[in-house]
């Protein structure tokens, strides 16, 4: 026995309902009138004769009234009988929520898994009766409700299902989808609730169900019968492109950069990886064979791209087609700068052991490797601290502060604005940097410029050669500079002094020194820009790193990282992105072209002081915001979630073993599905029955009350009447 509505609410109402007549009765008793009475003996005898009967009648009427209210309240509670109850008492209504896995892995196969899922869904819906409430949901990165608690009607539901031709471009977020299904189950008011998850049962989702997913499933099984319906899969072979990213080089006009496409064999067997084609601005620039890939093996395929023009360059890597086409392409955007301008501020005062080779000397040298002068792709301007306030920061893409100790609060504010709008800022510490002063001047909290709170300077023994550096965050582009170099060579880079820093929350430690794992290079994102903090000197004062080959590579890569943001122009499909479009008027219209070539106008908005175009990246490919006058265009790439490309599935038995303890049933055989579903349906709603009974009882008490009253009225022998008759008779005689 259960109830579809809240027992607390309706139970209280029922109690109130029952209490009302009783209270009225008591109040009625309390509000009685009184009168002196002479014929007390007659009344007492009448009461003795009637009291038993009167009480019985009263209690009978009161009981029937209370019973009627209780029955109606119970009906509103919508109680259900579970088990093999007598169907004469209630009606069997089944509420269904069917979630169809519409992640892009469902597009795998000649006859795709998605088509099979649609067919399975139709089989499930065939067990519903007309009018049963059914919800249809497409499950991907979030649940998309196609029909919400809609009365079942075969033709309508078939039409909706047939309109779903292919799955989405998104991955599957199982937990979020199960929560969405649970909400829909909660909405249903039927004695029998069923929830179906029609899926390909990917190993990545069902093989290791998260705790949260298990909890949600368990909660769902408390309210409904939950079925996992795995669809048949022809094969699990899939080779996909999992990434297309910038590897090295400069993203500047006239420069060359290397990009790498990662190809992965997602299947269980070795396969030939086929070929990868690279396109720059839709022009094929390279085609390379991948070679044989073992099961689960990833291989990077690189190509070099020369950039002759500035602006956004659309890049595309295409893999030979296989059973799942959507993950055979990968897109990227490279923002090529006409010129990158770096302002190096040297704060070092007085001479030193290294003479003029102090402060930003080595950094500037590292940046001026190729060309110098106004037209150079990387223009470096070197000044001292005193000249900083005279500079217009917007003329630069990056500012390097080396051992700078005297920065006014106004300048700090200007620097903050500069970074927020996309500029790059790199700090080098030194003898003139006082930790407390810096912390106070620049701030280290979320609104400050520093990635962490500076502390005391740690110094190695004078006899020692200093501390070597180690990678703090594997995979970071700046860390990969170190990772790609021979360890022996890396080990030669030594630091004798490092300033301690407590890295703020959300900021990344990219490099460290071996001593107590003190952070060496820390990154912080502020608005559209980034800040790098190097906790040692830019020159040789605190170590020999400035003359190590890694120094130049790190400086160069830092400039590219801070100014070009090579990974900043691609997002996961389905994201909502504010594409920075400087030079446009807020509120004006901007034309956005999607990967399919469709143009759409969006309104330019201002977010965090920047003019942006809001773009919904619902398709895979490159979205482009068109140029408008002097305002340059901007592009952004969207790609599928690479994790979804793993199309390996777990068989029904394996799924069952994982979810059985949660009370979830797995429907494996095609023929047994209908019978399994029917078998699970045991329950009847008693609403109508109780409502009818309540009304009948109410009518019965009305009839009885009237009968009792009439009987009492009829029972009057009417002495008054006989008196009147006597009077009339006497009058007649007269």
């Amino acid at each position: 026995m259960g109830s579809l509505n809240s027992f607390g609410l309706w139970g209280s109402l029922a109690a109130v309902g029952v209490a009302v007549p009783v209270i009225i009765h008591l109040l009625y008793r309390k509000q009685r009138k009184q009168t002196p009475w002479a014929a007390m003996e007659l009344l007492r005898r009448a009461l003795v004769d009637r009291s038993g009967q009167v009480k019985l009648e009263d209690f009978l009427i009161l009981f029937l009234r209370c019973l009627a209210l209780v029955l109606i309240a119970l009906a509103l509670l919508r109680p259900t009988l579970t088990g093999s109850a007598n169907s004469l008492l209630g009606e069997q209504r089944v509420g269904m929520v069917v979630g169809i896995d519409a992640s892009f892995s469902m597009g795998h196969g000649l006859h795709s898994r998605f088509e099979k899922a649609i067919a399975r869904t139709k089989e499930i819906l065939a067990t519903a009766k007309d009018g049963d409430p059914v919800s249809l949901v497409l499950m991907s990165q979030k649940p998309e409700v196609l029909l919400r608690s809609t009365g079942y009607e075969s033709s309508r539901f078939s039409g909706v299902l047939d309109a779903q031709e292919k799955p989405t471009a998104y991955g599957l977020t199982l937990e979020q989808n199960i929560e969405g299904l649970a909400e829909l189950v909660d909405e249903m008011k039927t004695p029998i609730k069923e929830c179906y998850l029609v899926t390909d049962a990917q190993e990545s989702d069902w093989g290791a169900l998260s705790d949260k997913g298990k909890q949600t499933l368990e909660r769902l099984t408390r309210d409904a019968s939950v079925f996992v319906v795995p669809v048949d899969t022809d094969s699990e072979a899939n080779v996909s492109l999992t990434a297309l990213r910038y590897s090295s080089g400069a993203l500047r006009k006239g420069e060359v950069a290397r990009f790498t496409a990662m190809v992965k064999n997602q299947g269980r067997q070795s396969v030939d990886g086929g070929k990868v084609e690279f396109h720059l601005n839709d022009t094929l620039v390279s085609r390379q064979a991948v070679g044989k890939l073992d099961a689960g093996e990833s291989r990077g395929v690189s190509f070099f791209a020369s950039f002759v023009e500035a602006g956004d360059v659309r890049m595309k890597a295409m893999l030979s087609k296989d059973d799942l086409a959507i993950d055979d392409a990968r897109y990227a955007v490279a923002r090529i700068r006409e010129q990158v301008r770096v302002l190096c501020v040297d704060g070092t005062k007085g001479g030193g052991e290294t003479g003029e080779r102090r402060g930003v000397y080595y950094a500037a040298r590292a940046l001026r490797l190729k060309q110098r002068g106004e037209k150079a792709p990387l223009k470096v301007v070197q000044i001292e601290t005193a000249g900083l306030s005279a500079e217009r920061l917007s003329d630069f893409d990056m500012i390097v502060l080396a051992n700078v100790d005297d920065v006014s609060p106004e300048m700090v504010k200007r620097l903050h604005t500069f970074v927020s709008k996309g500029g790059g800022l790199m700090f080098f510490v030194g003898d003139q940097v006082k930790a407390e002063d810096y912390n106070q001047r620049f701030g280290f909290d979320a609104n400050g410029l520093l990635p962490g709170k500076l502390g005391e300077v740690a110094a190695a023994d004078e006899e020692s050669t200093g501390w070597p550096l180690v990678v703090g965050r594997t995979g970071h582009r700046l860390a990969s500079v170190v990772e790609l170099v021979e360890p022996k060579l890396v080990d030669l880079a030594r630091f004798k002094k490092v300033m301690g820093v407590e890295v703020g929350e959300g900021n990344e430690t990219i490099l460290k020194v071996a001593h107590q794992e003190m952070p060496l290079l820390v990154e912080k994102t502020i608005g559209q820009g980034n800040v790098l903090l190097f906790t040692s000197t830019a020159d040789r004062t605190w170590g020999d790193f400035a003359v190590h080959p890694l120094y130049t590579m790190l400086i160069q890569q830092s400039v590219t990282q801070l100014t070009s943001k090579p990974d900043g122009w691609q997002v996961a499909v389905g994201s909502s992105v504010n594409v920075a479009t400087p030079g446009r008027v807020v509120g004006s219209e901007a034309a956005v072209t999607d990967p399919a070539g469709e143009k759409r106008m969006v309104t330019v908005a201002e977010v965090n002081g920047q003019t942006v175009c809001p773009v919904e990246m619902s398709r895979v490919g490159v979205y482009s915001v068109a140029e408008a006058g002097e305002a340059p265009g901007a592009s952004m790439a969207s790609n599928v979630d690479a994790r979804e490309s793993n199309v390996q599935v777990v068989d029904g038995g394996a799924v069952e073993s994982k979810v059985k303890e949660l009370g979830v049933k797995v429907v494996t055989g095609g023929g047994s599905m209908a019978s399994m579903i029917e078998e699970s349906r045991r329950g009847y709603e008693l609403t109508t029955f109780l409502l009818v009974m309540g009304i009948l009882v109410f009518l019965l008490q009305s009839v009885l009350a009237r009968y009792f009253t009439n009987r009492q009225t009829r029972g009057q022998s009417d002495l008054g009447e006989s008196l009147q008759m006597a009077r009339v008779a006497a009058a007649r005689r007269a």
């Binding site: 509000q31 009448a46 002495l719």
Partner: protein
């Protein structure tokens, strides 16, 4: 015909009797109302009926000789009337607390006073004697029977002094009266009879045994007769019977049965003892009750 007569007569509403004036004034109006409504002769009354002829004997008043009979028979005959018997009537009013009940403006006791006073007026008016007694548990006051007009004033004064008491003892009072009355006469009893019925019956049997004519005016309030109350009521006994809480609608049928049984018991006892029984509803105009009773009695006299 009777209905037409009723429509023509304007009776005094019992509820406004006390507003009309002093008792005597009201009684006069009541009695005049009866005469205007029903009677050609003011002499028509309970004791002025022609009964028989008898031969003249010396000493009889000559004025009573029926000259028409002499003309027919050449003998002297005297016309004999009941009125000439000069009867004594005692009016006994129950002044127990139960008589104070009134659903409207007039209580049973007040009504009984007006009714008794009206009868007293009628009796004295035809030169008979009338006495008056008020009782509750015992005989409170008693006015000896007299035939002059002054007795009416005395009775009126006594009525004004009546103070209701909680208990009734009709049977005992009737017994006491039977012993007290030396000469045969009329005893008119005005009461709601809410007392021991058996003792009452014994009392009136005793009266009848002594040759008295007894007339019982059973006075009840309309609410006591019809019990029309609705809702929840608390009934407070007027003579120390305690309280009762009930819904009258629920017990009405039984109450009315009990009432009928009670009234019929008294009526039957009266009939058996050849006592006139008049059930009076205090919502009925007094002159109406009186005239109906007098008509009824005269009709019975003619039959007998």
């Amino acid at each position: 015909m009777a209905q037409t007569q009723q429509q023509q007569v304007e009776y005094l509403d019992p509820n406004i009797l006390s507003q009309i004036g002093p008792l005597e004034v009201v009684v006069r109006q009541v009695v005049e109302g009866i005469r205007i409504g029903h009677h050609r002769s003011p002499r028509r009354g309970i004791s002025t009926e022609f009964t028989a002829y008898r031969q003249y004997v010396p000493g009889d008043e000559v004025r009573h000789i029926d000259w028409k009979a002499y003309a027919r028979t050449h003998r002297y005959y005297l016309k004999q009337f009941d009125a000439e018997t000069n009867f004594v009537a005692n009016l006994l009013v129950d002044a127990s607390e139960s008589m104070t009940y009134a659903s409207g403006n007039i209580s049973k006791l007040e009504y009984a006073k007006y009714l008794a006073a009206s009868l007293a007026y009628l009796i004295v008016d035809q030169r008979d004697s009338v006495g008056f007694g008020v009782f509750d548990g015992e005989l409170q006051r008693y006015v000896e029977p007299k035939g002059n007009q002054s007795v009416l004033r005395t009775i009126s004064d006594e009525m004004g002094r009546v103070e209701p008491q909680p208990r009734t003892n009709i049977g005992g009072i009737v017994e006491e009266f039977a012993a007290r009355m030396k000469r045969r006469g009329f005893v008119m009893l005005f009461s709601d009879m809410f007392d021991n019925t058996e003792e009452f019956i014994e009392g009136i049997n005793h009266l009848r045994f002594k040759g008295h004519n007894v007339i019982v005016f059973h006075i009840l309030d309309p609410y006591e007769l019809t019990f029309p109350l609705t809702g929840m009521w608390k009934f407070l006994g007027l003579e120390g019977e305690g309280e009762l809480i009930t819904q009258p609608a629920r017990v009405r049928a039984n109450y009315l049965k009990e009432l009928e049984s009670f009234v019929n018991g008294i009526r039957n006892a009266c009939n058996r003892a050849e006592v006139d029984y008049v059930l009076v509803d205090t919502s009925d105009p007094i002159e109406h009750v009186l005239s109906q009773y007098l008509l009824q009695r005269s009709a019975l006299a003619k039959i007998q």
